[in-house]
Amino acid sequence: MDCLKESKPISGPKDGKDIVVPQGIIMSTVETVLNWCRSRSFWPLTFGLACCAIEMMAAGDARYDIARFGSEVFRPSPRQCDLMIVAGTVTKKMQPLVLRLYEQMAEPKYVMAMGSCAISGGPFKDSYSVVQGADTFLPVDIYVPGCPPRPEALFYGLLQLRKKVANPKAFAEQYKEKLENYGKNY
């Protein structure tokens, strides 16, 4: 969650509330409404790489139920998704395919690095065949730590990502940094 703390919200969220509410729907621009809607309906890509994906699937079942937040629509086609949950170990062999899937997604698209493997290589930090974190080649929006993170942690990540998506201006600087690595290192 460090990435969220470091950034300084300009007109951004206060106590989890979005800027749509105080300004009023009528006065706000179309873009604000669109962003608000985007932040409320993430459709994740049906896509898992390793053990973390099992936990992602558990998030969809009866006990945790990702559908409460409207994200149960796991689309199989990257064209129709908004969110790529990099759930698991990204091996060097898989890296080009992950990147291609990301490029096939339609804008606006978001990436969540789920689990310590996708964040930094995790238990395979010194491995010759594992990519040391998804952010070495993708613009990752949010990190969910854990090995594996529990479904609750995944939900918390989703809710944090909401704030980020609803207030893109507040995070603009951060995006520039993120985009530096995009498509490199492989």
Binding site: V33, L34, C37, R68, R79, E107
Partner: protein, 349 residues
């Protein structure tokens, strides 16, 4: 619902008499407004339907379903639609551009065209065609073209396979569907949907035509490509089927077409088998429109129940079932109906 027709009459009189517009122009104007009303009605249904679908799927899986936006998550779908609106419209380089672009619109148009003949109450119909049910079946089959267009136009092997599967499935299930409706038409002695409805004043056709109803029910699951017969979008083998390359609002149009088709198919089932706007238990103080909506939603409930309880079948078992079971059974039903009708007439003289 007579009050609705009275309003239309008052409006027509005001247009021709009050303002002095020529009769033909006034008629065209009124028709356009009525068409818009029907489209809006269908789209409103859609919001309720998708909400119901998500809630039902949650219920059958012992989950809660969307519950954060609005009462019981009712506003989840509007938010999703707005999001789809704002999404990038990806058009891959290799697609056949005109076909790719038209396909999604085509699928929606063919789905909405069926609504021209479907009555929702006494006189509540855009065009009371005397061959209404024939028109419905004919328009239903033209929907196939849109799916083949999407499959071919995307220039993607999975899309193509999905499109071809849809075509095969829709064509082979079109036949038992038409045959099963034939039994009802024989009993009612008319192709006009309002007349068929009137013929069920005493007994609903679901009782003498129970075989036909089952045949119709199964083939109308396959027709709008719904689970468990939604092989055209089988994720495990075809990724997403014919709309694989579509994103944003074009993809949403395909979904809208699917649900529009579903409502139309349920409405036809309600009119042909469940007595349309004839009241149950002689409760005539409830308007016919309400009865009609109740029956449509009962059918939709059955469709959703089936969708979320059965696993998807394989393609060849689907085809075998269609050609080797459904078609003979529905043909047999026609024979039985004919013989039964003849015997009935001979007895009653």
């Amino acid at each position: 619902m007579d009050i609705f027709l009275v309003w239309v009459d008052i409006f027509r009189n005001w247009l021709t008499g009050g303002i002095g517009i020529p009769t033909l122009a006034a008629e065209i104007f009124i028709k356009i407004i009525l068409v818009l009303i029907v489209i809006i009605f269908v789209l409103c249904n859609l919001i309720v339907l998708v909400w119901l679908e998500r809630k039902f799927s949650a219920f059958y899986a012992m989950r809660l379903g969307p519950n954060r936006l609005g009462p019981a998550g009712f506003f989840q779908l509007p938010v999703d639609i707005v999001k789809c609106w704002g999404k990038e419209d990806t058009i891959p380089e290799a697609v056949d551009l005109p076909v790719f672009k038209i396909a999604s619109i085509c699928s929606f148009i063919t789905a909405i065209m069926a609504w021209a003949v479907i009555p929702l109450g006494k006189g509540l119909v855009l065009e009371d065609l005397n061959i209404g049910i024939f028109y419905f079946i004919a328009i239903g089959s033209t929907g196939t073209i849109a799916f083949i267009m999407a499959g071919f136009g995307s220039n993607n092997k999975y899309s193509l396979l999905g499109g071809m599967r849809t075509a095969a499935q829709m064509i082979s299930y079109e036949i038992p569907m038409a045959f099963s409706l034939l039994g009802v038409i024989m009993l009612a002695g008319s192709l006009n949907l309002s007349d068929i409805n009137e013929a069920q004043k005493n007994v609903w056709f679901v009782f003498p035509q129970i075989i036909a109803f089952l045949c119709y029910f199964i083939s109308s699951i396959a027709e709008p490509n719904r689970g468990p017969l939604d092989l055209s979008e089988g994720e495990q083998e075809l990724v997403a089927g014919y709309f694989l390359e579509y994103s944003g609002i074009r993809y949403a149009l395909f979904m809208v077409a699917e649900y529009t088709h579903l409502v139309a198919v349920s409405a036809i089932a309600a009119i042909m088998f469940l007595g349309g706007w004839n009241p149950l238990f002689g409760l005539t103080f409830i308007p016919g429109f309400v009865w009609m909506m109740l029956k449509i939603y009962f059918m939709i409930f059955l469709f959703m129940w089936v969708r979320w309880t059965f696993p998807r079948v394989r393609i060849e078992s689907l085809m075998h079932f269609g050609w080797k079971v459904l078609i003979p059974v529905s043909l047999l039903n026609i024979l039985l109906t004919g013989v039964g009708y003849y015997v009935f007439q001979a007895i009653t003289g």
